[in-house]
Amino acid sequence: MNKPSTPKIEIKDLHKSFGRNRVLQGINLTIMPGESVVIIGGSGSGKSVLLKCILGLIHPEQGSIKIDGVEITNLRGSELEEVRRKIGMLFQSAALFDSLNVWENIAFALIQGQGMARDEAQRTAIARLGDVGLRHEVAMLYPAELSGGMRKRVGLARAIASQPEIIFFDEPTTGLDPIMGSVIDNLIVKCVKELGATALSITHDMASAKRIASRIAMVFEGRIIWEGSTEEIDQTDNAYVQQFIHGRADGPIQMQIQDHFEGLPG
């Protein structure tokens, strides 16, 4: 009989508020090693806050986050940095450092975190550029000289450069055309598979979610209201999920839209 392995990420009863706005209201999520989980949900549903809590960028008020069985909500300083060394992150806007060129961006964790020599780090960075389908000439360009798709690819190369055990993807296809979105998704799947990493992505792009995920979870009003495999999501009778994946305006999810023309004559 196989011994059950420790979850890579385990979140229990996570709460976070900003003033009176209760963003996370008891999130529970377990991600096993090698899984690729995608969290879907509308704008303001708490997806990004959840990701920032796991990264230690925001401190939750209540609940537990464990990575490899280690509670991280009470870690600070070098202990937290040690945990972060296991993690790679692709930001929504790529968040490349303006003052560094492409190869320095990709090699950042290698030089600063691992103390790798600059020459060796440059060679590694150029190899990672190849992995995401960019030519080595791009290495000397600065982020301002790149297109949106190239920035995402460089961001992906930076996320995988230190060969992390866990990779987070924050809205990986937002702002890209459908073809480039598909290219990025395929690269994500390829890189995650090659690294054998555990992936957690957040998106509201259903096509992207289905391409990346082995499991999908939906967040609504700070709670996970549905979880299942990629195949199960189309068959579910959960009204929230159905409304979301089909993009219907009518349903249990009510968007807060103020009618500015209400009360005007005519």
Binding site: L57, E82, R84, R85, I87, M89, F91, L96, D98, A109
Partner: protein, 258 residues
Amino acid sequence: MLSLLQALGRTFLNFLGATGRIALFTAVSLSHCVRPPFYSRLIGRQMLEVGYYSLPVVGLTAIFTGMVLALQSYTGFARFSAESAIPSVVVVSITRELGPVLGGLMVAGRIGAAMAAEIGTMRVTEQIDALTTLATNPFKYLIAPRLIAGLTMLPILALVAMSVGVFGGYLVSIYKLGFNPTTYIANTVDFVQFQDVLSGLVKAAVFGFIITLMGCYHGYHSRGGAQGVGAAAINAVVSASILIFCSNYFITEIFFSR
């Protein structure tokens, strides 16, 4: 009446909150300035930015200040036949006050705003979050090199401002007001004391710390896109300028009050 008290109380609480946040930010920043690892490459780059690239601005400000000081002193002192006091007035004013203060204000405008804008842009474009996720402490990588550069480069800039300012006074005194060069230099050297220069250098170091701290603090806490970054740059320059004048008084009090 009650609403007035409420407004006063709210303002006072906001002031206390801001003071606490700045004190905490300063303590964390200073602790990273003295703890390894040190990013020598970044410190060097910031020293170049704060020190070398500010030389033209500080030099030009200082030379014209020295020139105007000599000219204005002459018009005043000539009424009392006290023209011989001009070298001493120029050198004391420049070394004790005008060199470090005007130099500090010019650097606050140039560097404080630039630091707030750069760090603020990094904040709103998630680059600071990216630094953190790459297991690099933003205080160590962004803030500490700037503080070290401000603390070390401003005294050097002040020394340049003092020399150039005194030289400006010399030029006007010799070529326009007809002073004897040898007598002017002798008077200047005789009158200036080590304490005058030292107080100017200490002031400059404090101003350098204030300028970079305010630039980093406002940039680090900027919010809300381009408007937030603009506000951070304005707040950095305004708060640094006010703090320069306040601290100038207290340092002067420490050095020269009898």
